[in-house]
Each structure stands twice: as structure tokens, then as C-alpha cells.
């Protein structure tokens, strides 16, 4: 997974002045940065601060990343560091005298690794979804909406008989599974069941 060719290509293109590649990097990994901010329970103001710094640091590092494929890992650790900075400076101004060491206890390396894995998987799934034909996208969107739409609603909205929703769902998921975007994940990494524990 660490040598996902998509990520390497995006980083290379962005380093060579391609703004669309940069936008795609941000689209892919903003959820990772955001979710780490959520774990630190940051305010929107602090999230903006953290987000801005993380992406600015990445802009500066673009041409220097030794392993472009390790970008998600770089983003996760940099975001953690920026969140810690915000948390500790807030505490300092409240005169609680908290040491950085205390704040570092928030950081659990296992958790960071999980966040990186999750972010890579989610990015690959969204990319695979984007490759699906519009019909499949509409159906899977309705099935994964919160709360999920009922078959009756899906039938009415998409103008398909209730009886054919099941088979179409199976066909769309099969296309999703076979898409090139998911190929980068590699068989051994794909344990979809884990998605349940995070839900």
C-alpha cells in the first residue's frame, strides 16, 4: 500500500507546478487531517490554523519528500504535531502550566497507524466510486446515505423495480471491487470487515 502509484504520481505532478494534482491531494487527504483535528477536539478556528499550516508545510516539502508514497504518513504525523502545538499553546495561555510531555501522551502511535490505513483505504474507495458509471454512483449513494434509503425510495427515485435493486447492487459492488483505484490497496490489506468496527 505504501507504494500506491497514484500518490507518487500526484506528488510528482504537484511538485512540478500542476495545481490540479495539488487539489486532488487535498481532496484525498483533507478528511485525514480533519479527523485528527476531531480527535483533538479542536475548535473551527484552530482547525483552520492547523489545516493551513499542514498544507503550507507540505507545499514547501513537495519537491523534497524522500518517499512520496509515504505522504499519508507524513500528513498524519505533521497534523498531530500541529494539533499538539495548538493544544499546548492554549493551555499555556490558560496558565495551567502543562508540559509538552503531558500533551504527548495524547499521541498513540497505533492510533496514528490506524488513521493512516483508514485514510488510504477511504481515499481509494472514493476514487473507485468516482470511476463507476453514474447509475451505480446514484444507487450506491442512496444505499450508503445516512440513514440509508429504503428499497421503495430507491425504486421511486431511480425508476427501477424493487426486485432489480438487489442484483444491480451486487453488480455495482463487483465493479467497485474490480476498479483500478482499489487495485493499489492490494489483496492482503483489504479486510473490509474492519470497516464495521469503525462505524
Amino acid at each position: 500500500m505504501r507504494d500506491d502509484p497514484t500518490v507518487i504520481a500526484l506528488v510528482t505532478r504537484a511538485a512540478g507546478s500542476d495545481p490540479t494534482a495539488w487539489d486532488e491531494i487535498v481532496e484525498r487527504y483533507a478528511p485525514l487531517v480533519w479527523s485528527i483535528c476531531t480527535r483533538f477536539q479542536l475548535s473551527n478556528h484552530d482547525r483552520e490554523d492547523v489545516g493551513q499550516n499542514v498544507w503550507l508545510l507540505l507545499v514547501e516539502q513537495l519537491g523534497k519528500l524522500r518517499e512520496p508514497a509515504a505522504l499519508p504518513g507524513w500528513l498524519a504525523t505533521t497534523t498531530h504535531r500541529e494539533c499538539l502545538r495548538v493544544v499546548t499553546s492554549a493551555r499555556k495561555s490558560e496558565r495551567l502550566g502543562t508540559e509538552l510531555d503531558d500533551a504527548l501522551q495524547f499521541v498513540d502511535n497505533t492510533m496514528i497507524d490506524e488513521e493512516i490505513l483508514m485514510a488510504e483505504r477511504n481515499a481509494a474507495l472514493r476514487a473507485a466510486f468516482a470511476e463507476l458509471p453514474p447509475k451505480c454512483q446514484r444507487l450506491l449513494s442512496m444505499l450508503t446515505s445516512d440513514p440509508p434509503s429504503s428499497y421503495a425510495e430507491i425504486s421511486a427515485t431511480l425508476q427501477i423495480p424493487v426486485g432489480s435493486i438487489g442484483p444491480q447492487r451486487a453488480r455495482c459492488l463487483e465493479r467497485l471491487r474490480k476498479s483500478s483505484a482499489l487495485a493499489g490497496l492490494g489483496e492482503t490489506d483489504v479486510d473490509w470487515a474492519e470497516g464495521d468496527t469503525h462505524a
Binding site: A14, S17, P19, W22, D23, V26, E27, A30, P31, V33, W34, S35, T38, R47, E48, D49, G51, Q52, N53, V54, W55, L56, L57, L58, V59, E60, L62, R81, E82, R85, S89, K92, M118, R121, N122, A123, L125, R126, F129, L140, S141, L143, T144, D146, P148, R169, A170, L173, L176, R177, W192, A193, E194, G195, D196, H198, A199
Partner: protein, 168 residues
Amino acid sequence: MPDAQDRDDEQLLTALGEAMRARREVPEWFVETGKNAYAWHNIDAELAQLTYDSLGDPLGDSLGYSLGDSLSDRERAAAVRSEAASIRALTFTSAGLSIELEVGEGSLLGQIIPPRAGTIEVHTTAGVASSPVDEIGCFAVTPIPASPFRLRCRTEDGADVLTGWITL
């Protein structure tokens, strides 16, 4: 094995739902902030480091950038300036020039040292605004930027200097 296939489908659908939800949770402004950062790609202005802040906090690392100066330098600067007390003052230093800033009521007052004319640009994530710098190096920025910003100073003699991000 239709049962195994059903279970796989269910898991894949759950994983997809999770991926879509993670993306939906992220507000557009957060994504835009990230995209806008690319404006800083390949900017070759010289970086000016924060070398003094009247708040006394060693702010150099506040944006994750490491300061080149030693603590004793900062302490010395702080001691010299402590008489100025209540007005928030900041100094950014590059090899060729310094930018001194004072936070006034409703505006930022600044001076380029050594004095010379040019323009000062205020960069925020929303865009850029510029103001003139007069012959004795003085400039004013009104109003005080509410969001984080950085200053880029271009002088008539060709210096091009950029500060780190400033939050007041």
C-alpha cells in the same frame, strides 16, 4: 457461495459508506484552505523569521518553523524592549532587512529597516492586498487582518522578503 458473497458485499458497502461519510464531514472551507496553500508553491521570496514578540512567548516555533536565533538573543531583545510594554510589537528579520510591526488601534503600523520605499503585501487565505511603503520605510495596514496572514515586502531596490504566518 452466495452467503459469503452477500457478506462481502455488505462489508464493502459499509466501508464505502464510511469513506463517503468521512468526506462529507469535512467542510468546504477546510478543503479550500488546503487548496489555496498551493499559491505558495515556488515562491522565491526570502523568508524573514520572527525574532521578537512583545508577548514574550518564544513564538518562533508557533508555526512549526524553527528559529535560527538563540534564546539569549531573544531574551536580550525582550529586555531592551520591555519598556515599550503595552503595545504589541513584532520584528521579522531576514539577511537583508527587518520588518518592525506595531499593533495599533484598528491598524498595523510598520517600518522597514534600513528605511527604503517599496510595497507591502498582506497575504491571507482569502487573497492579497497591498499598501505603499514610503521613503522612510513606513507603512500602515488597515484594518488589522482578522485571520492569519503573512507580509511580503518588496522594496524599490529589489529585496523580496516574506514573513511566516502571523496571528494577532
